[in-house]
Amino acid sequence: MEAAVFILSLIDCCALIFLSVYFIITLSDLECDYINARACCSKLNKWVLPELVGQALATVLMLVSMHWFIFLLNLPVASWNLYRYIKVPMGNMGIFDPTEIHNRGQLKSHMKEAMIKLGFHLLCFFIYLYSMILALIND
């Protein structure tokens, strides 16, 4: 049972890592002029909701299986994602808005956010891996 939970979280975390890398690559493509703002933002906005769902899934899994420490680790990121999603102003085309992305250093701050999330997901990956192996050994 334990092992199953951790295997699921591990897969989820892998998906989130790939997503973070995708965000970073797309944003740096925009910085280097390989794609334009509209294409970049529509690509990224498409994956905002899946990322939100994936992170929420990992958090809920940890809550349900009563691993409090990892749950508390995941909770801030999940709630930050939710906050950003809800707080998009009505006139904007999603979290990534092509008319605003080149203003006020938004591109840089999005990039920084994606990097931090990548680091966090990598950390979680190793935690889940360790816990899964531990659970498998204990079975």
Binding site: L30, E31, D33, N36, A37, R38, P89, M90, G91, N92, M93, P98, T99, I101, H102, N103, R104, G105
Partner: protein
């Protein structure tokens, strides 16, 4: 046409600038006496810009006439090549060397441009090779360095490039071997005719589409007569050539297209009522060639006002009409002019009334400054991608949610025109303004499918953009239409320290298709010195440019955060910069509110911004008026914007020819500029206030009867009509002088300011009094109180 200085050899550069590898020595010449050095010596040697002014004691801080832009501190032979401040202006004419120094100065660093301004002298170069730097693609400009005759060094990235063979020959002087005398290196503003490498597709023709609201409300206002008449009058002066195309769409709850095919005897109207899924009824002949189908177009324009006279439709399907316009124009690109008189109620993009009339005079935060839907923004981006610009004319008496509607123009490089409470009978002054603005709009120069790039010397980078355009990728602004009345601003930061550099350059390059189908590039280059002391930075501060940039930044802040935040940020900008001046630049500490002479108007301008329609609280302001004022702050070029922020007040009942200007054989009097306070008004005089979009003429109760009879044509004060907006053309010397003065004021801007003559009991008196910035009101401080507040905050 071209101005080449006589007897000019190599532009003499300061020593150490011509050879590579040798660290530059300090600039030779008069610039050596920099303000920082002067501060150590006697007070009398301090340049005028740094003269200490105690704002609490000096009342007369306004100059006699217009405020002159500061001149950068460059050697004379470089400064004469510098770009005109009407086209290109920087908030700090001496650039700080490091970002930390800039942060210490607490002044914003940015550029304000007016790149497509109508210029009387513009050198145009047709050349097979356009010389550009190989790495950064900068165009060759007066500030590059020529190391021997065959190589030139870029002033933005410092790469050494080769001079191409063709460039060595100068076609103007027919001489060989003097590349530095070519017009590209002699003019900071120049236009190239671009070869085919600069075209993604064959240059488009001029395509004009007019989208007209014909609901009952619209017909009531009577705007349709004015538009059709104006078009009929100006049909031959629309910029374009033999390929120019024109089309019309009218809409109420359905969309109407007009088949103007050449063989028809009269225009044929096609109605599309399925507004959920708009389609174009016929593939061509909705946009027709103007010269071939001129009679049909004229017939349509004559018939249009009567066609909808009896309409009872009250709904407005603006969203579907815009989608139809986009579909019609996307194959070629072009301009769509949309006329709207009410809130769109049907179809995609329908809006609800969000304004709460009770909140108009709220002293707290103002809501609903952001768009309600992203429909217009998305459509504007689609239009921008197909080189379609949408200009919006809003002629409405009620709330129209300009915050949402304006997006269609803001991101497609269009312009927004606003005529509140337009009505042909009840508001004739708006009608006159509309007519004159339309004439200018239809006949002014236009550029199509344009892009603009702003390049700076290595080390500086642009981080925020202000204006009507879409930033497609870093530094590349997509402008489907470029017009001569649009202004742009950018904010910069110093990424790498500018050590070893004496000067930095900025270049704005605008690539566009002219209305005659020629691909052209307009290039403006500006050069500014680099300094490393705070006092030099303050000495080079351009107070009007700083105010303009802060206004744009405050609009952004109001939209992303809140209006109160923006107001606080504006006040803090003054407090911080004056506090830095006091603590770091002043050598002698005195009591009072001290400012350098170049920034003495800064608190006054900030107070004016806080009392401007865009940012004021506590006074009843309609939401659409406020949003339009915010759009103007971001869109208007600085020289047209300043009277809108700080109106100019003159006494005009005693105009003399003393100090008058002589332009085109007309003598234009130059009365003194007065402070905006009622204590400057006098019952015995007449005063003129130039507020940008409107001009007020206030007549005192005991005004001299000679002024009244000779200028206004009335025998006494009580005979002055209530809603007078026109001046009689009398033969008297006073009338001629006065009309020359008003004509001169009006010529300085492209939009038409209406003249309102105000008596004591006039309805417009509150608007006039609201512009008296230095006075106290129930919701705002007087100028003196504001200064005391600043002083208190600074000494904390």
């Amino acid at each position: 046409m071209l101005h080449l200085p006589m007897g000019h050899s190599y532009p003499s550069l300061p020593p150490g600038y011509q050879k590579m590898g040798i660290p530059p020595s300090p600039l030779a010449g008069p610039v050596q006496l920099t303000p920082s050095m002067a501060g150590l010596s006697l007070q009398s040697q301090t340049p005028e810009a740094l003269r200490v002014v105690n704002l609490l004691q000096e009342r007369n801080i306004l100059p006699h006439g217009a405020v002159p832009p500061p001149t950068p501190c460059l050697p004379q032979d470089l400064q004469k090549f510098n770009c005109s401040p009407e086209v290109f202006r920087c908030t700090l004419t001496s650039i700080p060397q490091t970002q930390s120094l800039l942060n210490k100065a607490k002044l914003p660093l940015g550029l304000l441009l007016h790149p497509f301004k109508d210029l009387s002298q513009l050198p145009v170069v047709t050349s097979s090779t356009i010389v550009r730097c190989r790495t950064c693609r900068t165009y060759i400009n007066p500030f590059v360095t020529f190391l021997d005759q065959k190589r030139w060094k870029c002033n933005l990235c410092y790469r050494v490039n080769d001079v191409p063979e063709e460039f060595m020959y100068n076609p103007v002087t027919r001489s060989y071997g003097e590349p530095h005398k070519r017009p590209e290196v002699q003019s900071p503003t120049i236009e190239f005719i671009a070869p085919s490498e600069y075209m993604l597709r064959p240059p488009q023709p001029a395509v004009y589409l007019f989208v007209l609201d014909v609901s009952h409300n619209a017909v009531e206002t009577g705007y349709l007569d004015v538009v059709c008449q104006s078009l009929l009058d100006n049909l031959n002066s629309l910029p374009g050539d033999a390929r120019t195309k024109i089309g019309f769409i009218t809409f109420d709850s359905t969309i109407h297209f007009y088949n103007l095919q050449e063989g028809l005897s009269q225009p044929q109207m096609l109605v599309v009522s399925d507004i959920e899924d708009i389609f174009i009824p016929t593939p061509d002949s909705l946009l027709v060639n103007l010269s071939e189908c001129k009679e049909l177009v004229q017939d349509l324009l004559k018939a249009l006002p009567q066609m909808f006279n009896k309409t009872m439709e009250t709904h407005s399907a603006l969203g579907p009409a815009l989608q139809a316009a986009y579909k019609l124009l996307s194959p070629t690109g072009g301009r769509a002019s949309v006329f709207q008189t009410q809130l769109p109620t049907l179809g995609a993009g329908a809006l609800k009334s969000r304004e709460d009339p009770n909140q108009r005079a709220s002293a707290k935060d103002i809501q609903h400054l952001t768009p309600a839907t992203d429909f217009y923004k998305k459509l504007a981006l689609d239009c921008s991608g197909q080189q379609v610009a949408v200009d919006l004319f809003l002629l409405s008496g009620q709330y129209c949610d300009l915050a949402s509607l304006g997006c269609i123009s803001r991101f497609s490089a269009g312009s927004v025109y606003y005529y509140p409470s337009y009505h042909h009978q009840h508001n004739p002054s708006q009608v006159e303004r509309f007519q004159k603005d339309l004439k200018r709009y239809l006949t002014r120069k236009i550029g199509f499918e344009a892009v603009m790039r702003i390049r700076c010397t290595k080390g500086l980078s642009i981080h925020t953009f202000h204006g009507n355009f879409f930033v497609r990728s870093t530094d590349l602004l997509s402008l489907p239409n470029v017009n001569p009345d649009a202004g742009f601003a950018v904010q910069m930061s110093i990424e790498e320290n500018l050590l070893d550099m004496q000067m930095v350059s900025f270049q704005a390059a605008l690539l566009y298709t002219s209305s005659k189908g020629e691909r052209r590039i307009r290039v403006h280059t500006m050069c500014l010195p680099v300094v490393n002391s705070l006092s030099d930075i303050f000495a080079g501060a351009d107070v009007q440019a700083i105010t303009g940039l802060l206004a744009s930044m405050a609009v952004d802040r109001s939209v992303t955060a809140s209006l109160c935040d923006a107001r606080d940020a504006l006040t803090n900008a003054v407090i911080d910069s004056l506090a830095t001046y006091r603590s770091s630049v002043l050598t002698i500490q005195q009591a009072g509110l001290l400012a350098p002479s170049c920034l003495r108007l800064f608190p006054l301008y900030i107070l004016a911004l806080l009392k401007q329609k865009a940012f004021r609280t506590g006074t009843s302001t309609r939401l659409d008026d406020r949003v339009f004022a915010m759009y103007q702050l971001k869109y208007q070029p600085l020289s047209y914007l300043m009277p809108m922020i700080h109106p100019v007040l003159y006494r005009v009942d005693d105009l003399t020819d003393e100090g008058a200007l002589n332009i085109n054989d007309r003598t234009i009097p130059q009365p003194r500029v007065l402070q905006l306070s009622v204590e400057k008004l006098s019952r015995e005089g007449a005063f003129l206030m130039d507020a940008g979009l409107v001009i007020f003429l206030w007549i005192g109760r005991n005004c001299s009867s000679s002024f009244l009879s000779q200028v206004l044509g009335v025998p006494n004060y009580s005979a002055v009509p209530q809603n007078m907006t026109r001046l009689p053309e009398l033969d008297t010397a006073e009338s001629v002088r006065f009309r020359a003065f008003i004509g001169w004021l009006r010529e300085q801007r492209p939009f038409y300011p209406v003249l309102h003559v105000i008596r004591e009991e006039s309805q417009l008196k509150p608007s006039f009094m609201q512009n008296m910035i230095e006075d106290r009101t129930e919701s705002a401080l007087s100028y003196y109180e504001f200064l005391l507040h600043l002083q208190q905050q600074i000494s904390k």
